[in-house]
Amino acid sequence: MTPPVVDVLPAIPALILAVTGLAVLLAQAFTPRGQAAPGAPFSLAGLLAALVAVYLLAARGGGDLGGTYVVDAFSLYFHALIIGVGLVVVLLSPSYLRATGIDRGEYYTLVLFSLVGMLGLVSCRELVSLFVSLEVMSVALYALAGLHRARPESQEAALKYFITGAFSSGFLLYGIALLYGASGSTSLVAVGAALRTPGPATAALATMGTGLLLVGFGFKVASVPFHMWAPDVYEGAPTTITALMSAGVKAAAFGALLRVFGQALPALAASWQPAVAALAVVTMVVGNLGALAQSNLKRMLAYSSVAHAGYLLAAVVAAPGIGVEAVLFYLVAYAAVNLGGFGALAALARQGREPLSLDDVAGLASRRPALAAALAVYLISLTGVPVSAGFVGKFFLFRAAVNAGWTSLAVIGVLMSVVSAYYYLRVVVAMYMREPLGEDAWAPVPPSAGLALGLSAAVVLALGVHPEPVLTWARLAARSLL
């Protein structure tokens, strides 16, 4: 028997990150107790190397690892996004970890492992390896959420995230099992082919499986009614990890959702589109109304992240089609904005405290003008007001919904954007229109965090003015899915 020829090159970016993670782990193990290994430089080097590998892979035209792990334009797009998210998170981390007293090398290892999981999630064309990737990502994040061992909120976040995560994995796995039952395969392409000519029993199984998958992904992207973990977890987790979750996990989960629904389940579109549309509506409404009631900035951003899952789902309804490219573009815009938003809070952390209330950021514009300006840019982008990536992104999301004949989704979406303007503006009001309260309790912005925040703001503005290159790329990526 001849050994199967396996092309490992497609997995190189993920492998680089995994090896870097192991290296950081070992470095930490051999660092004297009480000291931190140089995790951040290691991770930065690994992430940059992975980015180069992604570029080389793209130049080579992608690749296919035994049909289960493919690097097509779609995965390359997400690879670049996820590694970019990783870079920003690592840049934000050192100062935050020092300020909160959780500076440990394992942090970077876990971040890198979760990134490996995300890369797998967007590249797997086979349901079981997809599930394994999901778990690789999630397990690392469960540990990261609880890294603040002294803070009960952090422990609560880890436990809640773990339990709901395990719960959602169950749904996902059951859905995978039912799809396997209906089609006799776990390969997305084979499932898609089998479902094109279903018998009555198969169709019922497949529909149930699709519903369960939707529930599972609904948990991961934090869509209502599967969102209840998000505010607590986002609030309790270390802020840089919250940034990673809101930017990276959401992107990876949407990537997997689009790939599974676009490649395996287009034949069932008539049955899942209304369900996704309903999810989108309740998610937009509940997320935005929930955010209105929050006084804690991290919780507010958590609810806003729920709301944005709703906007994205509104365009998923239009998938496969222009909905996919709209979602891909918006994920970049949204990642930049969320990294910036949570990153700004993290950058100000000092002695275990970080700004969490409107009073904490009152008058920030006079004390940290550059940071306040960047935060204002992120908030404006979240609201969806030009000139920002958020506006262009929402424009394309709602265009997709309208073009697919779901004008009502777009109407609800824009009206909810107005609601969101109210709570985003409260932060801007506090920063720019109120006087600072008391002593300046926050840290000066550290250079590496400043670089990360500046990058995010630049991306937000640049995509607001000149979105064409990323749009073109997103379009290519969306096409490769079909």
Partner: protein
């Protein structure tokens, strides 16, 4: 995958399992009976309680276990899983060639790194060095 109705050859191919079952059951039965006959029987309260790895099996279950149990249990499971993975690998090793050897090495190396990490962190010692110093 759907299988055909059980045929004669199907049954013969599984006869080894039947033999295996018989041997197992016979082995346990013979031993139990044999030792019942030849061992001395001196009961004490201690001996009559259920064996529970050194913990007290009676009373409230809401007691604090030493956290080290969990660490060891975790480590055990990791290496247990290693064995589970390596067994099928070894079975088909000949057919999949040198690449498989490399993959096996990578797998073991990763677990070795984990072991090294655990060792350096002092989690392999029942009483940690810094605890001793205190």
């Amino acid at each position: 995958m759907p299988s055909a109705a059980p045929s004669a050859s199907y049954l013969t191919s599984h006869s080894a399992i039947l033999a295996f079952l018989l041997v197992v059951v016979g082995f346990v039965a013979v031993n139990l009976v044999l030792w019942k006959i030849i061992r001395p029987s001196r009961f004490s309260e201690e001996k009559l309680t259920t064996y529970e790895c050194g913990e007290n099996p009676t009373g409230s279950a809401w007691i604090q276990f030493n956290i080290r149990f969990y660490v060891f249990a975790l480590l055990f499971i990791i290496f247990d899983v290693e064995a589970v993975f390596l067994l099928p690998w070894a079975v088909v090793f000949r057919e999949i060639g040198p690449l498989a050897f490399l993959e096996g090495l990578v797998f073991i190396a990763i677990l070795a790194i984990a072991l090294a990490y655990v060792w350096r962190k002092g989690d392999l010692e029942w009483v940690r060095t810094e605890d001793r110093q205190v």
